[in-house]
Each structure stands twice: as C-alpha cells, then as structure tokens.
C-alpha cells in the first residue's frame, strides 16, 4: 500500500507565499515518487483533518512562525505523527537567533558580536536611552539590524550610523517582539546545508549568494535575476573545510536531525562567522538547499523522498 504523506504548507505566516511554493514543489516530487500525497494548509481545522486522514508522516514545508519555531512540531509529537526535519527543541533554538548565537558563543562557534532588544525593553524599561552604547558593544558601524525571529531576511537592514539605528530597530520590531543589532561582516555570504541520516552527517556543497543590491534580503531572495549563486562557493580549500566543519558542528549543537541550513559570512581574511541556522529550509525553485543538493548529485525528488523516509523510519 502506498504511504500517505501530508505536506503542511501555507499557514498564517509572513512567509506563507514562500511556503506554498515550497509545498507545491514537494507535493509534485512526492507524488511522482509514488506516495499518496495530501496537501494541507495550516488552518483551524488542521488537527481534525490530520486525525481523520491519519497520514503515515507529515512533510513540514512551513516557513516562519508556527511552522519553524517548534509549534507544529510539538503538536505533531502529541498527535503521534512522525514529521520531517528537526524536533521541537532544535526548532525553537534555531528560530530564536539570539538564543542560538549564545549557544554558538559558549561552544566557540564564531558569530559576529551583537545585542538583542525586545519591544518591551523599549516600552517598559527605557532601553532607547542606552542606544548610544550599541556601537561599543558590537564593535562599531556598520551593523545589521534584524528581527530575532523571522526567516527570509524579512525586516533586515544595514545601518551605517547611529542616527539611522532607531528607524531600523522600529522596522525590525514590526516583524516580531525582539530585534538583533549585529556587527556587519563584509565578505562572502554562504549557505551550508546539512543532511543527516543513518549513514551519518553529510555536508552539502556551500552555496554562495551575490545580491545585486549588495544585501541578500527578502526581495533579493525571491526575485529572479536579483541574485547570482555559485555552487560550490568560491572559497579556498582550507576555508571550505572550515565552513563545512562549522556547519556540521552547528547542526549537532542545536540538536538538529534530517536537515538544516547554516547561514554564514566569510570575512575578507577567510574567517567564517555563523549567522543563523534554519530548520525548515526553503524548497522553492530559487531556494538554496535544493541547489546545494543538486550540486551533490541529489535531485529534488530524491531530496524530498530522503526526508520523508527519515520521518517514516522513526516509527519503525
């Protein structure tokens, strides 16, 4: 009998459209691979539908809040349905950039210096009076200002001076309750995808992104022609080895399984810095994980099937 796979996509997230694009591709691939596929939007009757349909596994093609922060994962554990990708704790840790950066620090994973502000710290505690301390804390301008929780580069900006900092913080805080101010590292932006399974951890070729606008944000990511990609990234062999080692370390450190994508920037002197880890990497036609897999000889369908198999194997 064909196994029934529910692909979760959409939901009420700012990355809904991206998720629908990921989900549609995954559905097509899994159908072609012979699974019985059920495409499900995350709506109020989701649980009812899952209980009625009793899928053998769920493919989590959700991005953003609820899909990537551990919420859906926790629900699926409770319902006893195996699902693709990292579990509850890994998802929650990776989703909170501030928390995961603290972990990186504790384990000597290089990450740019940063400070985190919550909206409440401004509203209730007068944190805005301490913005003059920010440059000292992160090592001067320019800085990246971004929401502490969100994917796809949403709400991110590059700030050159103290005067523009409040505006950028307000923008980032419109995407969530906390914002990060992080030293801007000029260099090569790369995404390193990690797959793991019974045969161990396997780091895919790093993908290098060159945005025409100079900043790899939401519109660069999802607008064709706005970004050039190089696979594998154009790095020295020693640097290449180091970024691969770091990706595997971060994957293990956060407790990820099946898949993750670690975003880094390699400074001009060849020092890599880890920025964040994504536990539900995009699967659209401009997404980085499928691109990296392709370069390693793993086609899109194989990639999707591999992730589903890993979930199915968890019940056996």
């Amino acid at each position: 009998m064909k196994e029934k796979i529910a692909v979760l996509m959409g939901g009420r997230s700012l990355e809904r459209e991206v998720s629908l694009r990921s989900g549609e591709r995954v559905c097509a691939a899994l159908t072609a691979a012979g699974f019985h596929v059920l495409a499900l939007d995350v709506v109020p009757d989701l649980v009812e539908t899952l209980r009625r349909e009793r899928p053998d596994a769920v493919y989590v093609a959700l991005h953003g809040r609820f899909g990537e922060d551990g919420t859906v994962q926790e629900l699926l554990e409770f319902l006893g349905i195996p699902y693709t990708g990292p579990g509850v704790v890994a998802s929650a840790l990776a989703w909170d950039k501030s928390l995961s950066k603290r972990l990186f620090m504790q384990h000597d994973v290089p990450t740019p210096p940063w400070v985190t502000f919550t909206a409440d710290a401004f509203k209730e505690m007068g944190a805005a009076t301490a913005l003059d301390l920010v440059p000292g804390a992160v090592g001067g301008f320019p800085v990246a200002v971004k929401p502490a929780e969100q994917g796809s580069g949403l709400g991110m900006s590059r700030v050159e001076d103290a005067e523009s900092l409040p505006e950028a913080l307000l923008t980032a805080l419109s995407f969530g309750d906390a914002a990060l101010v992080e030293r801007w590292v000029d260099g090569v932006e790369i995404a390193v995808s990690v797959l793991d399974g019974p045969e161990g951890v396997f780091v895919l070729p790093p993908v290098e992104m060159v945005a025409k606008s100079g900043i790899f944000d939401f519109s660069a990511m999802y607008t064709r022609g706005e970004t050039e990609y190089f696979v594998p990234a154009r790095l020295e062999p020693a640097v290449m080895a180091e970024v691969e080692r770091l990706a595997a370390q971060v994957h293990a450190l956060l407790g990820c399984r099946d898949v993750s994508r670690v975003d880094m920037v390699v400074g001009a002197d060849g020092t890599p810095f880890v920025l964040e880890c994504n536990t539900s990497p995009g699967m659209t036609d401009t997404s980085l994980l499928p691109m990296a897999a392709e370069a390693a000889g793993i086609g899109f369908q194989d990639l999707a099937v591999r992730l589903v198999r890993a979930a199915l194997d968890r019940v056996k």
């Binding site: 959409g10 009420r12 007068g126 805005a128 307000l170 519109s219 064709r224 392709e294």
Partner: protein, 421 residues
C-alpha cells in the same frame, strides 16, 4: 560533485531603459498575494461583482451571441462598436456631457486609455502633473514613458489649485504635457474636487495651455451630496476617461475616452498598434446589459452596499484608531485615506498587520517621489461591514502597540521627530 552556476534572468541588461523604473517590489507582491486564512483585506480596490446578477449576465451574453453572432467573434473597428458608443454617449449625457458617439472611442478599461495617452504625449524627461497621492496604475502607465512627475498635494476639497498654480507658474506656459486628475472620490485619497476648484483648475489649464486628463471611474458611486459636473462638462477640451468596471464589471475590460478630435485620432493610431481593436465579444455583452433597465437597480444596490461599508469603516475608525490619526470622509467611491503621525512608517506597520490578519496599502506607492510614508489607503469596497469593523479593530490594536514603541523612542530622544509623539 557537479558545479552549477545559476544566473536567473539571463536577459537582464537587454531590456529597454524605459522598463527600469517600472518594477514591482517582490515584498509588495507577496503581501498583496497574502491569501491567508481569515485574512481581512482592506487593500484591494475590487468591485463587489457578486452583486451583478449572474443570470442577467448569462442572458445578455446568450442573446448577444444569438443575435450578433459572427460579428461578436470577428475583429471590430478600432474605435469600438457604434452601438456601444451610442450607449456611452447616453451615459455621458446623464452626467452632463453632451457628445456624439463619434466623439469617443472604446478602450480596454480606462487603464488602456492612460497608457495610450502617455504613449502619445510623453517623451523621456517631459513634465507631467498629477495629484499626490494618485492612482498606482496611472503612475505605472506613465512611468514607462520616463516623465518627470510633479505631484500637487490635496486636502478635503481635492487638488489644492493654489499649489497647482504655483507649479504651473514655475513650469511656464506649456511647461507640462498634461495634468492628470481623478476629481470624484479620488483613488487613493477618497476626496472630491469642489466646484470652485474645478473651475479654477480649468482656467489655469487654459491659461498655461496644458491638456487636462479627467479619470472618472467612481463618479456614479455617490452615497450622499449632490452630483458634481465633470470637468468635461465645463470645458470640451478636457480628455475624459470612463469605465464599465465599476458600473458593470471589470472582467469585461471595457472603458472609453472622449477627447478633442486630433488627440483622439492620435490615440486611435496608438491603439491600433497596441491591440488592433477591443473585444467585440465584451462589447456586445455590455450593449445588451445597458440596453435593459436592470443595470440601474443593480448599480443602486451596489452603491448602497458600498455606502454601508463606508459607514462601517468610518464608525470603527473613530472607535479604534488613536487620536493622532486623521482620515478622509469620502462621499462615494472605494477608499479612505489615513494620515498618521509623521514619525510612523506604514510600510513597517504592514508586516505586523498581516500577522494580525489585516492588510492595507502603505502610502508611498501612491507617490512617485517617496512621500506618503506615514499614510495608508483603506479600501471599504470589498469586505462586509462586520469584517471591516474587525479589520479596523485589529489595525487599531497594531497601531496602538506601534505608537507605544515610538513614544518610548521619542521620549528617550532617540527619534529626531519627537514632536507630535
């Protein structure tokens, strides 16, 4: 391991320079496409076509095909079917404009009229004058021809003609290729150009010898107050754009243009290049629809529907929006225009609103020059009154939270525009 170098748009660098400024923002597209469950959209200016009775449309289409037969399926004349032009002439007479069917052409929505007028008038670098804010589709149509756009601010009585006069004085006689205005229930501002200013605008246009384009999609959707004569009724050199989108259905893509004969001849040449002729199929259907009388009661019902929705929006704005916010009170049309304290960026407000299940359109898109940062357009045309009330409540909540945050920044002196906070 393979090496794949992927460059997506391999034709980039080969497009004409005129397309450079006509770019749609990916972010805006994704938000606009936000099809989230129980999302309340106050962003789209879509007519409530569900109130147009499907059985009536089915009948007119069937009759039209039966009686007009082959000609509905054939190419037509590029100025439109004479039968439809006769009906349009009657519609125009009802609003005080006396023209003959030969004085107008049928276009693919008023939008095509905008594109064709831009095509025949604008060389790169030419100056044109619009209201600020103005219709996004007009900005898009005009910007492809690379004009220098000058926007004249508005208040509750429409375009501020004294500021228009100052601009025209600066530009000199024939200093602009045209003045574009939406006098009735303007998109996005919702305001109506008052009678006094209509006269003054036309005087100025005559004095400086600049053509006026009057775009009037909403004129028949008046909820209260008396009918205002179109500019075209006061001056027969005005170029007037009309549309069936709001009085029948936008799906037909039917509009019209009336203009002085020489201009109309140029537009017709441009139209032949664009599409040879409009859709005969749509035209025969519209003819049948407007030959009957049912459309009048449908339009009355539609107008009442929009009026109830406007009332719901104005009531809930008063209830849920902070005292720092101001908004227009449209007497018709589709839109309310909201102005927030200067330090608030409505673009930065949108993501939070979307997560709270409500959308609007941030103000900057309605200006060619980055203004409108603290403004937003709210459409009341498409959501039911209860949804509008809930949407405004959600938006008010988001606004309140943002204002708290801004006040905290301002209190700490971290924002230079502390005044008014």
């Amino acid at each position: 391991m393979g090496t794949a170098r992927i460059v997506f748009d391999r034709w980039d660098g080969r497009y004409a320079a005129r397309m450079r400024d006509v770019r749609s923002s990916a972010v805006r597209d994704l938000f606009a496409a936000a099809s989230m469950p129980d999302m309340i959209s106050l962003s789209g200016g879509m007519p409530e076509v569900s109130r147009v009775p499907a059985d009536v449309v089915a009948r007119v289409v069937r009759d039209a095909i039966r009686h007009e037969g082959a000609s509905a399926l054939q190419y037509g004349s590029s100025d439109g079917r004479p039968e439809l032009r006769a009906i349009i002439a009657e519609l125009m007479a009802e609003i005080g404009v006396r023209i003959s069917p030969g004085d107008l052409i049928v276009t693919a929505g008023a939008q095509q009229g905008l594109d064709l007028l831009a095509k025949i008038f604008i060389d790169p670098g030419d100056t044109i004058v619009t209201e600020g804010p103005t219709y996004v589709g007009a900005l898009q149509a005009f910007s492809a021809y690379q004009p220098n756009m000058v926007c004249v601010p508005m208040d509750d009585d429409g375009m501020r003609v004294e500021l228009l006069e100052a601009e025209l004085a600066r530009l000199g006689p024939r200093g602009a290729k045209f003045i574009y205005t939406i006098p009735n229930f303007q998109n996005p501002a919702g305001v109506t150009l008052c009678a006094e200013r209509r006269r003054r605008l036309l005087e100025l246009a005559r004095e400086y010898d600049i053509p006026v384009i009057e775009d009037d999609p909403y004129g028949r959707l008046r909820f209260e107050g008396g009918h205002m004569k179109p500019l075209r009724a006061l001056d027969d050199e005005v170029i007037y754009l009309g549309t069936f989108s709001k009085i029948f259905a936008p799906g037909l893509r039917l509009g019209w243009m009336t203009a002085p004969k020489p201009i109309l001849a140029k537009v017709l040449l441009a139209k032949q290049a664009a599409d040879l002729c409009g859709s005969n199929f749509a035209q025969v259907a519209a003819e049948r629809y407007f030959r009957g009388t049912r459309w009048r009661s449908v339009l009355r019902d539609l107008t009442e529907t929009y009026a109830r929705r406007r009332d719901a929006m104005l009531e809930s704005l008063a209830e849920h929006f902070p005292p720092e916010a101001h908004w227009t009170r449209p007497e018709g049309g589709f839109f309310v225009w909201v102005t927030l304290p200067e330090f608030l960026d409505t673009g930065a407000l949108l993501p939070e609103a979307v997560e709270h299940g409500v959308t609007f359109v941030p103000g900057t898109g309605f200006f060619p020059d980055g203004r409108g940062r603290n403004q937003m357009r709210l459409a009341f045309c498409y959501a039911e009154p209860d949804a509008i009330r809930e949407g405004i409540r959600r938006l008010g909540e988001v606004l309140e939270g943002r204002l708290d945050l801004y006040r905290a920044f301002a209190a700490a002196g971290a924002l230079p525009i502390a005044k008014g906070a």
